[in-house]
């Protein structure tokens, strides 16, 4: 037995599989990283996050499907301010009971209304489309510029219980402010029990902001996307 042919060998610190495990672990870590980014990206844009489709607690079980859809009432019948003021306005007890004294007078359901009428207070409607405190939204400015109700509120005439139809996130507003025509088809639908007439949609107003597009360094800059246009 020659001296050199010593047979003893050292044990490996790591088994053969250790390497594949290590590579797997590294790959997995990268995958997790990418995945979490993707998830976050999707999550902040998900309707769920913005309570889309969630009905709010209302004082009385009001159905837009019946009133706007079935009866074909004009939005302005209840939301009177929508063409004149920033706030579209919510119906007062008088508005409701004006009709419901005569038709479909279900006393039990209307107690909140009667209470409001008696106390001269406002009906505590819940808004499903309230924008945050730092946003200045003017209904009149939009309706008169031809943006239909449906563009933001969805097809309320098909909603038995009113829900938020769009995320109403800043991205949502920007889509339309960057390229108003993109919203046109939606606007046209609004003629059903809504406003305004489809052909009136997106005719630029004489002093509307859209008239003020200008170029700087060859880049077209639109006032529609300036902060102060929408933010307080």
């Amino acid at each position: 037995m020659p001296v050199w042919s010593v047979r003893e060998t050292m044990a490996q610190l790591f088994s053969k599989r250790a390497d594949s495990r290590l590579r797997l672990a590294i790959g997995f870590a990268c995958a997790v990283l990418l995945l979490s980014c993707a998830t976050g990206f999707a999550l902040v844009r998900a309707g769920q996050t913005w309570a889309v489709g969630h009905p709010a607690e209302q004082p009385i079980p009001f159905s837009h499907a019946v009133h706007a859809g079935g009866l074909g009432l004009d939005c302005r019948f209840c939301h009177a301010g929508v063409e004149r003021t920033a706030d579209a306005g919510m119906p007062s007890a008088e508005t409701c009971l004006g009709c419901h004294d005569r038709v479909w007078n279900v006393a039990a359901q209307f107690t909140p209304l009667r209470a409001a009428l008696a106390g001269g207070t406002a009906v505590q409607w819940a808004s499903v489309s309230r924008l945050p405190n730092h946003v200045r939204f003017d209904h009149a400015a939009h309706t008169t510029a031809g943006v239909g109700c449906v563009s933001c509120h969805g097809a309320v005439q098909e909603m038995p219980r009113t829900v938020r139809a769009e995320t109403l996130s800043m991205g949502f507003c920007l889509d339309c402010h960057r390229d108003p025509t993109s919203g046109q088809p939606r606007a046209v639908e609004t003629t059903t029990g809504g406003l305004p007439a489809g052909e009136a949609a997106f005719t630029p107003r004489p002093h509307g902001l859209r008239a003020l597009r200008y170029r700087h360094f060859g880049v077209e800059v639109s006032p529609m996307t300036r902060c102060s246009t929408c933010h307080r």
């Binding site: 610190l13 790591f14 902040v44 996130s169 991205g171």
Partner: protein, 440 residues
Amino acid sequence: MSDNTIPVAEAALRPGAWGFRLAMAAAGAGVVVLVASVAAVLVRGVAVWGNNIPHVWGFDLIAYAWWIGIANAASLFAAVLVLRRHGLRTAVNRFAEAAALAAILAAAAYPILHLGRPWLFLWTLPYPAYTGLWPQFGSPLVWDFWGIMSHVVVTSLFWFIGLIPDLASMRDRAARHGRMRAARAYGILALGWRGSVAHWHRHQAAYRLVAALVLPLLLWAQTVVALEFATTLVPAWHQARLPLHVVVTGLPSGLGVVLALAAVLRQALSLERYVDERDMDLLARLLASAGLAAGMAYAHELLVGFLEEDPTTRDALAARVFGGGAPAYCGAVLLSAVLPQLLWLGALRTRTLIVVPVGVLAAAGVWLDRWSIVVGGLLRDHMPAVGPEYAPSVAEWGLLGGSVALFAMVLLLFGRLVPAVSMFETRHEESETEAEREER
């Protein structure tokens, strides 16, 4: 040949001495203070600090600029040694790199903490947000964000590349001691390094390449911090020379810390053999010359101020140097520029009891210089003073002390868990010197 770096590895593997545990405990206590001060800021907001209008920045930016300066000077120093293949590198590279890493970690927290709404710092990153908004790439603060990020990444890369072969040594040594768990841990970190000559060749190339890239990066990172001030309209800050000033006056802090660290570690881990008198001597000279450079920067500042034509700017400098800002300014000059000149005296250079305080005081002096820029720079503005003077609060002192403790703790862990000096470099050098001896 016979390996002479065994004690280094042993030093790292030896169970912690009571001194080490004591130090860790002290640092730990400091870190607790840090956590408390950070919590205070996050919960109660920046109001817990002494800031006001116009002093919107105080300790936060001072400490930030200071730590960055230490990190820069330290890794600058390390990189230069690697590139020049200087003998000193074997001795102190590892300290320098570790110190740089610890400092940058301590610094990195400030840019986020000083925000009014820290949880939103992500908005400085370019990512597709649902708001459709993006960062403003022209802002010095965005530059700074990238600066600090690259700084952290590159410094740790630099440190890690140098560490790989030594981790392999640690792996084998631990295995020999039968400490298999430690061995596996080191083994994974060593990425299976087996000392192949080919690997060594590429490793050296990468190591020196990164070292080369570190130089401009560091200079620029420090410059960006200075630009945050230089790009404003504040008379005392709106200076083309400010970046240079900040870089140069930053040198004594980093070198001072490295010097003090070397002096302490060589005693604590009994590494006199690897960090010998010559190394310490050279380090001390370097600190002295850095002080000299800083001194020149100060002189230049005064000269420029003297030649300045805009009265407001001149008044601002006067207020900072001779007026209300005088204590900080003079302190900075004395500690970071004048004091290190002591080390030209050979007798003092090798005395631990001299060099450690001098190194630490030099760093403190640089802190004073940052104060004199951030706070003293606002003594005179375009408008007459519109607010009271800046007075730091307990929370801020806690933050400063805490980050020092964090720095210490990170260093302790380095000293404990990884070789304190570069083992392979040492071997290499020793063999070379042997070879020379044989030739003679």
